[in-house]
């Protein structure tokens, strides 16, 4: 076997992450019951991002990967954000939607 990354992750860690994910799921469902206006969406997105961060960092062991991996993930997310964000330069300011 050639150069290989990292120690073996103990199952405990994964189970802990899993529990955290379940809790967060509960949180979104719970929050969704209250009317926070536009905030609802943002909270939902916030929690979802947190959850995916957990999955990516531990389940997909991004945290053990090299800087290259992390940077390129960042790049991909940045591009996606730009695509969504810049579209709003149009839809937000249309005179007649």
């Amino acid at each position: 076997m050639t150069e290989q990354h990292s120690h073996i992750v103990p199952c405990r860690t994964f189970i802990a992450v899993w529990i955290a994910l379940l809790i967060l799921t509960g949180v979104t469902v719970w929050v969704a019951q209250y009317n926070l206006g536009v905030l609802n969406v943002w909270v939902a997105l916030g929690v979802a991002s947190l959850k995916s961060a957990l999955v990516i960092a531990w389940f997909m062991h991004m945290k053990d990967e090299s800087r290259l991996f992390k940077l390129s993930l960042l790049a991909a997310l940045a591009i996606l954000t730009i695509f969504i964000g810049f579209t709003f330069f149009d839809v937000l300011y249309r005179i007649n939607p």
């Binding site: 994964f14 189970i15 899993w18 379940l22 939902a44 979802a48 389940f59 991996f69 991909a76 996606l80």
Partner: protein, 201 residues
Amino acid sequence: MSAHVHKDDTGARFGMWLFLFTELLLFGGLFILYAVYLARYPREFVTAGSQLNVWFGGANTLVLLTSSLLVAVSITTLRRGQVRLTLTLLGGTIACAALFMINKYFEWSAKIGHGLYPGSEHLHEIPPGEAVFFNIYYVTTGLHGIHVIIGALVLAWTMALIKSGRVHADDWIVLENAGLYWHLVDLIWIFIFPLYYLILH
């Protein structure tokens, strides 16, 4: 970096990650549309969204999260050499995938029963904002469903490789990559769930 590396696991993983990025942007297109139409029809999205069944969505969320856990653990067990346990875990994952699809089946057939499906008469009668919600809901969850099936197949194939001993304690990159793919399927759902099932206000 030496060209002598005949088997380059880091390279393979990097390749897989690049592929996941493409998947991310594939769904990204749908999320762009979702964002735009949500901004345009906030009220209609709520009325339509409230008609989706949170229980179906919630259940499937739990199923997928669990399946992700099983895959993650299976890598650990394989590297510890516990082949049989690994196979059971992966079997569990595929079972989760099946459960997920069964859930979807019931959920969709209920909706279709109410005449809510792309191209239906009913969608032409309800307000446009709601129609667009249901259409994008079907497209997104449909595409995700396809990914669930593909992911399950990939895992099944990996199981075969493990059985035949071609994937084992010191060469598990295939399982690693199959796992990565499965986690992506989970990731997408983590966003689909709140965006479609939980916009109640």
